[in-house]
Each structure stands twice: as structure tokens, then as C-alpha cells.
Symmetry: C2
């Protein structure tokens, strides 16, 4: 199954390159972690400043992006390259992806761009926020996505602290550590979405960085949506979804990876950027998942299930699903999409400058 | 530093036994996982029923508890043993721990006791709920705690899918995989709690299983507390805490382990049972963390910081902290406790039957 004008051989080569690159970048990241743990980063890094934990993380982020960009540009000089740091430095939030084959990477996910008051505008955009990485909460990763005609097709996500590498290539399937096919539970068959979804489901969601407590702001809309999904059946004017579990990892990238794995049934999020999701979407789609928009259409029961729009900052993802006696896997996914749409609010994330 | 009438040698021996037992139980669990992934569990297990995913997990849970209990009772016949399954089978929710040295274990955490309508009373209590394990979301673990005079002193938590073993023994420190001392960031010194805590903190919390959407019920109280912690500074009548990140893993046990590691700064939870927290509390305390009650006292600014009460089902935990120029580590932890207490609601969890 070749994609666009790439042959399977070409795709396989790009895929092998991306996996190797992800691992090498992960090794580099683990070296930095060992330095942080041993307390030796002050000696080996080229700077020493007051707010050193922030600077050390920023420096690691930038070094990783340079490492990954150089490798890609040397190997594939004709491909476009977009890194999270590219955006940060340019202070642009435009959607910069076009028809060309494009690498879209996040050198160190598990931080978030935030705007603390004491930072200058430039620093605002490069400040690694919440930061699973800063806290060494292991849910941080390197994310490398390859996009053709706005569709992520090859993805590598590597979480080096727990040595979990997720990867996918068209025609080759999606994998954990190149040995376990995703989703994990697939023998003798991939389970369909539960008949009573979203009940019985694990729902993955993130609070995000927009914490303004204003009437009908994103935080309140998210919370209302979360609460609908969580509350017992019959409550909240019939919107109670009684999901089995609510999970928040602080990483859209890993949320998608675990949805591809089958660990999460549903992921619903607004506000993330294309470098957060490119690799994860490639992996989830190749594993058999569904990705559409987070924002419910006017009639969630009948509206067509819109295809994902990269750059929309609004995503709803459903795990891979197999057929039941009464439905195809796709039908059970679409049924679940509609059940989520019935319970969630519109989110309002525009692209500053776009 | 001997505890009670145990010598350091005796503690060391118990600790080594517990670590070895945790690893062996983890290996057993991984065998079952490989069977689930390969689809061969139907052949190797001794039962085949309709609702097989539930039954397989229940069976694994019970087998693990028997394995762990037998090992402990053979090695330490004079110690008391309490397992999560012991409680489940007896249908008692009494606090059964007394002055005797007691092993308190959860053979398979990352599930929750829930009460689905279609299950019989006995099954209600043994049904593994939400289930990181059922979904193979890697945040499931084996939890082995050793308690003396109501205080967890030795703990082993093993999350085999990501091969993370957390452990602690009095006088020996707390460890990840027996090679990285906890908290991880400790060189040249353990960071104090942030001056502006809970801002800058990662806040770990769980939605739990009480999803009744009733006025002033636990779900609404939790949500109000979560929202206070998350909302920007200045909002919500001054209660906005603007924490850097909100995390929910679905496992109180691993929440505590990551707090000991320094990955989470604050963990606040009601509703969990002693087998969920015994090992984690031992590890967190040995790492230098603080554990007190989730429920704020009448005057959170001045009330004494109550010592943890095992069995209270209400916990607030703060990560290990070192001194700053103006505070001891303990002072920065206590300051953080009070800042959390100012923002959270009382939770109401009683012990059915107690």
C-alpha cells in the first residue's frame, strides 16, 4: 500500500530512519537525565544561570531539535521540516504545513508552552511549562511525525525513561518497541467498542493551560464536558456517561500512543498543536483508530464523521476496534464518537496570528 | 535506625524478602499478560466463561494474592496478613489492622472495586473495575506493604509492564529499581517546595468511583477542589492555585510512588483503602515526603499538621523537599499542605460496616 507517490520501499526507508532517529534522540535525552540526576549538568553544560532548571530544560529541548533537524535535512534535503522550536523561535502560530512531504517533530513533549508573567515575550514561547520532563514524571517523549498531503503517515514516539517506543508506517502496522503489534489485545480479535460506550471506557483528557475561570471559557467548557463523561448514567439531563476511568497524563502525544495501544478508549482534547499530535495520529490511524474533531456538529446523531484536520487544534480519537456480531469495528467507533459529541461542549481555540 | 522491636538486620531481611516477592509476583503477572496478548489464556486457564475478560482478570488477581500470601505466611508465620482479596471475600470494610506487624498487600492495583448493577453482591466486591490492567494501560502494579503499629514502614511497588520497582526500608532509603535513590533530583540538594506552591506544582488527583452527581456529593466536592487547584491565580475568590499540571493515573499506589520520586509535588485523594496506600506511604515517608489528611481542619492556617491515619481513606501527600535559604524542607512542605487545605473541600468517605 504505497501512499501518494512514495513506493513501499521508500516508505520503509523513511520509517527505518525515523525509528533509528527517535532512539538516538532518546539516548541523548537520557544522557541529559543522568546528568540532572547526578547533579553534574552544571559542569557539562555551557551555561550557568540562576533559574537553572528552566534553562537546562530549554537547552536540552533546543539541542534535541537541532540534532533531529540536522539528521533529517542531511538525509532528506528535499523534505520540509517543522519543529516545535521552529514555531517558538519565529513566534508564529500559523499553520505552516502544506502539500509537501513534511517532518513535524516535537523534540521534547511533556512540557507545554505557557506564559508566566515574569518571562519576556520570546522566552514565553520557549519556556517548557508544566513539564513532565522537568519533574521527571516519565510521561515525556520525543515525537517525530512524517506528513504527506496534510496527513501524518509515519510516526515515532519514544518515551526513553520507560523505554517505550511507539511507531507506525503505512502497510507495516503500528508497534510497541518494534515487537508488540498495536493494539495489544488483538488475539483472537480486536475487541469492538463497548456496547454501552462511553461507559466501560477509559477516557483520556487534559486540563491544558487555559485556566481562566471565566463564564463559558475553555476551562469551564472542558470541565463541564469531563463531568458529563464521568457522572453516573441518568444524571445531568441524560448526559452522564459513567466512563470507567478518567486519565490525564499531561502529554497529548502519549495520550494518542496509549489510545493506539488500546489502553485508552477515547481521547478528547482541544488546544494542542500539530507537533503534539502528528506522530501520534500516524500511529493511531495505522493501528486502526479513528480521529475526528473534538467539537460536536449541530446534529451529533446524523452529521457525517468529519476527517481529521491537522492544524485544527481540536481532536477526538477512538481506539482501534474490531467487529462484533452486529457492527463493524468502524461502526462501533462512529457510535462512540456520537456518544462523546452528545456529552461535550464546543471548545474555542484559535491560532494567534492565523 | 531500628523500628519498634525490629533490629536493622531484621528489617533488612524483611525488605529483601519483600523486594524479591514483588519481582516474582510481577513476573507471574507478566506471564498472564503475555497470555492475554497472544490470545492463549483461554487454553492455559482452568475456566472458560462468557465474560472472559473480567474473569481472567479476577483469576489473575486471586492467583497473585494466593501466591503472595503463601510466601509471606511460610516465611513469617507470626505476622498478620491482609490482602485486598481478603477484604473482598469477607465483604467487610472494617479497618482490620492492629498493633501487630502486618503485611497489607494489593496483588493487582490499577483496578477498583466497583458495583456494576448486573453483578451479585459477592462479585460486586471482587470485580476489577476501571482497570488499568484490563486495558493494559501500564499504570498497574503489585503493592506490598509492611506495617508496624499502624505505620507502613517497608514498601514494595512493582509496575512490571514498565519494569519500575519502587521500594523502601527504614534506614535504607527509598529506591527506583534498587539503583536510583528517591527522590530522583537530589544532587546537589533536594529542591524545596516552590515558594509559590501550589503554583509551579504537579497536582495528582483521581476522579474515583463515586460518580453520583448530587449536590454536595463527593464528586462535586472533588471537582470544586480540582478546579480551585487548577484555576488561575486571583480567580475563585482567591482560591485559584494555577498548578502547573493536573495528573490522573487511576492508581493511588503509583500516585504515591511518583510523589516519592519527586515527579508529583502534591497528591490529594479520598476514598482509597489501606491496601491501596500502605506500600506507597512507606516509600514516600522514607524518601522524605509528608502524609497527612485530605480534609482541611477548621483553621487551615494554624491547625497542627495531623499525622497520617491509616484507614482514614483521606490522604494528602507532599513530595520530599530540601531546605531553602529561608525554610527547612519540612516547613516548605507544611506551607504547601496549608495552601492545599485552603483550596479543597471536605470529602465524606465512611467505612461501610465500620
Amino acid at each position: 500500500m504505497a501512499v501518494s507517490n512514495f513506493t513501499q520501499d521508500e516508505l520503509d526507508e523513511i520509517y527505518a530512519f525515523a525509528v533509528d532517529l527517535g532512539r538516538k534522540a532518546g539516548d541523548l535525552l537520557m544522557e541529559r537525565i543522568e546528568q540532572r540526576i547526578s547533579g553534574s549538568e552544571g559542569h557539562s553544560q555551557k551555561f550557568e544561570e540562576k533559574d537553572s532548571s528552566v534553562d537546562i530544560v530549554t537547552q536540552t529541548d533546543e539541542d534535541l531539535e537541532v540534532f533531529i533537524r540536522n539528521a533529517i535535512q542531511e538525509k532528506y534535503p528535499d523534505h520540509k521540516f517543522l519543529g516545535e522550536e521552529t514555531y517558538a523561535k519565529g513566534q508564529s502560530r500559523d499553520y505552516l504545513i502544506d502539500e509537501h512531504p513534511t517532518w513535524c517533530i516535537d523534540p521534547l513533549d511533556g512540557k507545554r508552552l505557557i506564559q508566566p508573567h515574569h518571562l519576556t515575550p520570546l522566552k514565553m514561547l520557549t519556556f517548557p511549562g508544566t513539564v513532565n520532563y522537568t519533574h521527571l514524571f516519565p510521561m515525556f517523549c520525543i515525537s517525530i511525525g512524517f506528513i504527506v498531503q496534510h496527513r501524518p503517515i509515519i510516526g515515532v514516539i519514544y518515551a526513553p525513561f520507560q523505554d517505550q517506543l511507539f511507531s507506525a508506517c503505512p502497510g507495516r502496522g503500528a508497534w510497541l518497541n518494534e515487537k508488540r503489534k498495536l493494539p495489544l489485545i488483538r488475539n483472537p480479535s480486536i475487541p469492538p467498542m463497548p456496547a454501552n460506550a462511553p461507559s466501560s471506557c477509559i477516557f483520556s483528557c487534559e486540563w491544558g493551560k487555559d485556566r481562566r475561570d471565566i463564564p463559558d471559557g475553555n476551562m469551564r467548557r472542558k470541565l463541564e464536558s469531563f463531568t458529563n463523561m464521568a457522572a453516573e448514567i441518568g444524571s445531568r439531563d441524560g448526559k452522564g456517561g459513567m466512563v470507567h476511568g478518567m486519565r490525564s497524563l499531561g502529554s497529548a502525544t502519549l495520550d494518542l500512543a496509549y489510545t493506539a495501544m488500546g489502553s485508552f478508549d477515547i481521547w478528547w482534547e482541544g488546544g494542542c498543536w500539530e507537533w503534539d499530535v502528528a506522530a501520534g495520529i500516524a500511529i493511531l490511524l495505522e493501528a486502526g483508530g479513528l480521529v475526528t474533531t473534538a467539537n460536536p456538529p449541530e446534529d451529533p446523531d446524523t452529521a457525517p464523521i468529519e476527517d481529521l484536520r491537522l492544524g485544527s487544534r481540536l481532536y477526538l480519537a477512538i481506539r482501534p476496534a474490531g467487529p462484533s456480531e452486529t457492527e463493524t469495528g468502524r461502526e462501533s467507533q462512529e457510535r462512540t464518537v456520537r456518544e462523546v459529541w452528545r456529552r461535550v461542549r464546543h471548545l474555542s481555540y484559535s491560532r494567534p496570528g492565523a
